[in-house]
């Protein structure tokens, strides 16, 4: 699957474009419903989600040859992991603190 990925057949590209457009609408709709009170965790949670780039770095690492590509793969894996781990941990830490009034009255 790794060789010749760059040829990117038109059909695959169009399918990806289709997903891209629909996902953009989903993202817009989902985030519109998040209240201001949770915008800081939202930003950091969304930040963690794009940490999925670590998967891209892993795919580069899987087929890495030559010192340059190996260094790039390593750098990508480190940066991507920082993004994904840090992002989820810090968001969890924030959300853990949100509590209602003990008497439950609102």
């Amino acid at each position: 699957m790794n060789e010749a990925v760059h040829t990117l057949p038109t059909e695959a590209l169009l399918q990806a474009l289709f997903i891209f457009v629909l996902t953009a609408f989903v993202g817009y709709e989902v985030v519109s419903k998040v209240p201001t009170m949770l915008h800081t965790p939202l930003m950091s949670g969304a930040n963690a989600v794009h940490g999925v780039i670590v998967v891209g770095a892993m795919l580069v690492a899987a087929s890495a040859e030559g010192p340059l590509r190996i260094v790039l793969a390593l750098l990508g894996v480190i940066l991507g992991t920082i993004n994904v781990v840090g992002g989820f941990v810090v968001t969890d830490r924030m959300l853990e603190m949100f509590k209602r009034r003990p008497d439950g009255k609102s």
């Binding site: 891209f20 993202g27 899987a62 190996i70 390593l74």
Partner: protein
Amino acid sequence: MTTLEIVTFFVYLAGSVTFILGLKFLASPVSARRGNRLAATGMAIVVGWVFMTEFLLRDGGLSTVWILAVGIPIGSLVGAVGARRVPMTAMPQMVAIFNGAGGGAAAVVASAEFLRDAGGSGPLLPATFMIATLLGAVIGSVSLTGSIIAFGKLQGIVSGRPVTYPGDKIVTGALLAGILVLGVVLTVVTNSVPLFLLFLGLALVLGVAAVMPIGGADMPVVVSLLNSYTGIAVAATGFVLNNYALLVAGTLVGASGGILTQLMCRAMNRSLFNVLFGAFGTAGGTMVAGATGDLNVREITAEDAAVLMAYGRKVIIVPGYGMAVAQAQQSVRELMDLLVAKGVDVEFAIHPVAGRMPGHMNVLLAEANVPYDRLKEMDEINDDFQNATVALVIGANDVTNPAARTDTSSPIYGMPILNVDQAEHVIVLKRSMAAGFAGIDNPLYSDPRTTMLFGDAKKSVEALVSGVKAA
């Protein structure tokens, strides 16, 4: 398609669903934590699956598995330690750094894909591949260096003032033009590696040049925008690798960061263009002239302020970044508890851009165990100020500035503000008469209803606490 590829497809699908649900569950504080954990689990499954199929099960996969064995522990350690240690007040910087890491990773992945296939004497790489690769590389790079500068400004390492010089916009424009031209050349003329490196270099410089002229007060908008950029860069690498997990996750974040940026600008009644290019926060001429008049401020003692609140009906607390800097949240919660015990109705009014990031105050007060249902958003509470005995402003400034309503020459004119000046009494806790983060004077302080309690926010609130105990 092999069976393995089909399973991979479903793993990516499942991961993408958890990402969407994770963001969806953030709509309520009750489900938010579960959502984040769900997304994290989905991410772990995707990463685990790729590890298994691309490294453990694939022939020759083990030859490079050491890259993960080295990289993942280092990244996890740095990320987890940073995330655990960061004080909640420094959250915007932390998000900026994590975002920069993601942007950097996207740029690296795109570059590695280009370098694998370029440089040969063969035919040009397909234009679609080149466009996606170049987009991933340029946006990721801008996000990387832009985030670093944003971090520096928020952390106080880089000047929070807008750094401008004559012709700075021309330089930024030239960088952008250079990147565009190089991008076209790389796509249709030659897949030259040196040109690609130049392209990357210009993108890295552009990130710095674009963020430096923006004032520290606007950094949260910048962080949000760069977050969106990283999402788009990740989506672009998703196109390059034809990987749907990257594509969906990146696009989701790109869209969500975009709308969040838009909401933040609206809360300040400014356009994104104005935020990015307005060099907001420089000492502009007009408002200084209006404010140099005699500022008649009256001071109040902590005891008198405490009595006003203890025997009042309703106290609305307006927290700002000053509270966070002084680490006064715990004392504020204590004050709230005491007042509630005395039968006073206590609520908090949270301006959408209070603190350094939207929702930042909610996080800080949640950390101090203030129940989130006492925290009211601006639209929810603005009509209640007229029923409040006391509006207690703790280290907030610009979001209470009535000039935003009346003074057309004020740089924040038109920004929706909290109606603190409609309360019976306004008590402002402030370190000194210095202007706020945006560098604008506040006529609220000379209002006849307003009294000032100068000093460190934490000490002042502690004094109020003992005052209320004695009252």
